[in-house]
């Protein structure tokens, strides 16, 4: 496609054309452009939460309504227009902040549903709080109609929305949202504090919706509850964004241009059943194009148009493939030799009546590699989950380098220096190898990197781990082995003091297992990382571990050298059944 004109270079022209509209026409064309710009601001700002963070907020229009009402109420009391618009955006933002607390308890369809329920709720409030909203009568406004100024503000808002979208694609904040979209728990154990991130993007989108709502109120000169909280109007901008392609940089714009035109034709040519026609359109988009028009295979084959479908990860930072002489990160200091890296005392984890971990104590010195073994269901992974705060232990204490982990969140624990992998690998699936590692580098507690630097440094970690040739491969398309390697690289990128490695070797060939052992050894020797390794393969453990801890039914069966474990009668019974029974 080099040298040829790409469709996305034409996109700025759309905005230039939009800017020219008031100079050409002051009648129908201007009104149509105003409705498109307003819809675009809504569609684009909606897509930040949906396309980036993966939360489908069907009640986005309610914030448009809040902005419109805030503007109308203040303007009818004589507040200046600019202040009214600012108040509209602010009111929507504050509403979003308050609603974050209940709404982000939900995910998926539940979140979509609860947000859609905001529309009837706000409609009832607008109808019933008659002292403020004048109820069903609505609020008439007698403001000067400075149409060119109004248009300029809308265009400015639309351009700002595009700018924010580009910024989100490349910023640290944007990467946090992408991590959240893929796997919230892994995002947390990678050091991201997720709630403020979700809340912030929700507030940001709502502020834009409130801004558009305030301008709409100014433009219409009148608002009542059904205009701004009606279910039928509310879903239009969302359908537009989804039709174009949620999460794609040009998705909302393409959707608004096409569906906006279709909607306008429906309104002018269809005397009845307009909602039915629109509903049918929504239904058909859902049935046939849930990923959006720009993601269809057909469109990707047209070279000119294909550039519109650029996914955010269609860029890969250059990496020389050379590890360089500088270490990946400054090794953990050896001065704390006297103290323990990890001190686990009497940890109990109960699920109902079942104690998955029952009174386990464990002391680990810096630079040690501990093998954690035991039959399936003996509590190894549960213990990992207690240490990384995926679970809050029922009782007992966990201390990392002198700091108690009690009442610490997952991201705080990650910042204190605990990195982990998962038994079934959980990379951020729709991100590339390099992005996966870069996220850990951006959000680690010790010496976090700027996002640009992180994307470069991530290449070195990938190279170190042996997947340097797959930097721009989507993580969910990697082989199991590579996913495990990626998880290890991601965990190492957080510069951990303590690395929890969960069954990396199972399912791998002996050659691959040897590679892993080499990696673990390098992490310990070069970077002073202390390691707990959950594994069933004894010969692999024997190559590297200093000590072995055996769990059975949630309790510690024994602790000692690998020879002691293998010769221990109780360990043999736990693994192979009792000799008495066998005989």
């Amino acid at each position: 496609m080099n040298g040829s004109v790409k469709a996305n270079t034409l996109m700025p022209l759309v905005f230039v054309a939009a800017a020219a509209v008031p100079f050409v026409t002051q009648s129908y064309g201007l009104a149509f452009s105003i409705s498109l710009l307003s819809a675009f601001i809504l569609a684009q700002s909606w897509d930040w939460l949906d396309g980036k963070a993966g939360y489908t907020n069907l009640g986005h229009f309610a914030f448009f309504g809040v902005g419109a009402y805030a503007f109308a109420i203040l303007s009818s009391k004589g507040v200046a227009i600019y202040w009214g618009i600012a108040a509209g955006a602010l009111a929507a933002m504050i509403t979003a902040l308050v609603l974050s607390f209940p709404l982000f308890r939900l995910r998926g369809n539940y979140f979509a549903f609860a947000t859609l329920a905001l529309l009837p709720l706000f409609e009832i409030l607008a109808f019933n709080l008659t002292d403020i909203t004048k109820g069903a009568d609505g609020i008439p406004l007698s403001l000067p109609r400075q149409i060119n100024l109004l248009y300029g503000l809308l265009l400015g808002g639309a351009l700002a929305a595009v700018a924010v979208s580009f910024w989100l694609d490349r910023s640290r904040f944007g990467f946090a949202l992408k991590a959240i979209r893929n796997d919230e728990q892994v995002a947390e154990t990678s050091g991201i504090r997720i709630f403020p991130m979700k809340c912030a993007v929700f507030m940001l989108g709502s502020a834009f919706a409130g801004f558009a709502g305030a301008i709409q109120a100014w433009y219409l000169g009148y608002i009542d509850p059904p205009t701004v909280f009606g279910l039928d109007v509310a879903l239009i901008p969302i359908a537009m964004a989804l039709f174009g392609g949620s999460g794609l940089i040009w998705g909302p714009l393409v959707g608004v241009l096409i569906l906006g035109t279709v909607h306008d034709l429906l309104l002018t040519h269809l005397p009845v059943l307009q909602t039915t026609a629109y509903g049918l359109l929504v239904l058909l988009i859902g049935r046939f194009l849930p990923g959006g028009l720009l993601r269809t295979k057909l469109l990707k084959k047209v070279p000119f148009l294909a550039s519109l479908a650029q996914e955010h990860h269609d860029f890969a930072p250059s990496f020389s493939g050379d590890l360089g002489a500088t270490p990946l990160f400054s090794p953990n200091a050896r001065t704390e030799d006297a103290s323990l890296v990890l001190d686990v005392q009497g940890v109990v984890m109960r699920f109902g009546g079942n104690a998955a971990v029952n009174d386990v104590s464990l002391q680990i010195k810096p630079g040690e590699v501990i093998g954690l073994v035991g039959p399936n269901g003996s509590g190894k992974t549960t213990l990992f989950n207690c240490i990384s705060k995926v679970y809050e232990p029922t009782s007992g204490s966990i201390v990392l380098s002198g700091q108690s982990l009690a009442s610490k969140r997952r991201d705080e624990v990650a910042h204190l220096g605990i990195g982990r992998t998962y038994q079934n690998p959980r990379p951020f699936g729709d991100l590339t190898v390099i992005e996966n590692i870069a996220i850990a580098l951006m959000f680690r507690g010790r010496d976090p990197l700027h996002h640009k630097q992180a994307l470069v440094e991530a290449g070195r970690f990938a190279e170190f781990a042996g997947i340097g040739d797959k930097l721009s491969v989507r993580a969910d398309t990697l082989s199991l082995q590579d996913k495990k390697v990626l998880e290890f690289a991601r965990a190492l990128a957080s510069a951990p003091k303590l690395l929890l490695v969960d069954e990396v070797a199972s399912g791998l060939t002996p050659t691959e297992v040897h590679r892993f052992i080499a990696l673990l050894r390098a992490a310990r020797d070069q970077y002073g990382v202390t390691i707990i390794w959950v594994e069933h393969i004894f010969w692999a453990l024997a190559e590297i571990v200093d000590r072995i801890v055996v769990l059975e039914s949630g309790t510690k069966l024994m602790e000692g050298s690998i020879e002691e474990a293998v010769n221990n009668q109780r360990v043999q019974e736990a693994y192979f059944g009792s000799k008495g029974e066998a005989a």
Binding site: Y110, A114, L116, D232, L273, I285, R287, P290
Partner: protein, 292 residues
């Protein structure tokens, strides 16, 4: 302070709540088994009520006759709706499937209420069957509503036994617990999903007819009923019939007390407020932060 008023309100709330619970059963069953949150669920209730009302006033069909016909018609509709509009989405990526289901059912919601309003008019309709009211001292009960509630309780019990002991009931419980495990145990998962969706839609028809005998129905009330049903399944637990019945009754009573104490114009907002409050106060209540 007149205690009779409160007693009367409580009874009215229980009757109302029974209907809500019935609406929630279908939603809960479909979600529990097929993992689809049907946004147009309550709208189907409204359509069922409107059709039964028209059948009664224009054709003179008694509600139980139109009820049976509607159960069959809605069941067939549900089966086809699922097969042609929802099932094909399962081949897509999880995110696309999720968005697709939302758009298809929301689109259906918009279409159904608009078409119903166009064909039958937007005015509220009901089935004006009236029996003599039952008087208990100072309390006056509408016997229609008492019969309706008795019907709901009977239906809940029948449903409970059906889901517990029939082949269909066992199979859908198996699928809802472990779809893959059920498939390798030779349970035809796809067919079962379609049939569960149809079954849920059939239940909706009953709810619609009963609703119209008690209260007026209009084409635009559907979504607020879906919201109520959703609040109920969050309160009562997915697939938990008894929990849903109790949660429904609780919601009905709260709504009817609130209508009396702060004004009936606030009643439609109660369920949404309740939903938001539950989510803050008892977040781990039903889903425990697991992906929904």
């Amino acid at each position: 302070m007149d205690i009779t008023i409160y007693l009367q309100l409580m009874i009215g709330g229980i009757l109302l709540g029974g209907i809500y619970a019935l609406v929630a059963f279908g939603l809960s069953l479909i979600y529990g088994v097929v993992r689809i949150l049907n946004f147009s669920h309550g709208t189907l209730v409204a359509i069922g009520g409107i059709l039964a009302s028209l059948a009664y006033t224009d054709l003179g069909l008694p509600p139980y006759v139109s009820g049976i016909a509607l159960v069959l018609a809605f069941g067939l509709f549900g089966r086809l709706f699922f097969q042609f509009l929802l099932e094909p989405l399962s081949a897509r990526t999880p995110k696309e499937a999720e968005i697709g289901v939302v758009l298809v059912t929301v689109g259906a919601l918009l279409m159904m209420s608009d078409i119903a309003a166009f064909l039958a008019g937007p005015t509220p309709k009901n089935i004006p069957v009236r029996f003599d009211p039952i008087e208990l001292g100072d309390l006056i009960l509408s016997s229609t509503q008492v019969y309706a509630l008795a019907g709901i309780i009977l239906l809940t019990v029948a449903l409970h036994f059906f889901l517990r002991y029939s082949w269909f009931g066992r199979a859908i419980r198996a699928v809802s617990q472990d779809a893959f495990g059920a498939t390798i145990s030779a349970i035809p998962g796809k067919t079962l999903h379609g049939n569960t969706f149809a079954f849920g839609c059939g239940l909706v028809a009953i709810a619609g007819v009963l609703y119209a005998t008690m209260f007026p129905v209009d084409p635009y009330m559907g979504f607020s009923l879906t919201v109520k049903a959703f609040t109920i399944i969050i309160l009562g637990g997915i697939g938990n019939l008894t929990g849903s019945l109790l949660a429904g009754i609780l919601l009905g009573v709260v709504e009817s007390l609130a209508a009396f104490l702060i004004g009936s114009e606030w009643a439609p907002g109660i369920s949404i407020m309740l939903l938001l409050i539950i989510l803050v106060v008892r977040p781990q209540g039903i889903f425990g932060g697991k992906p929904a």
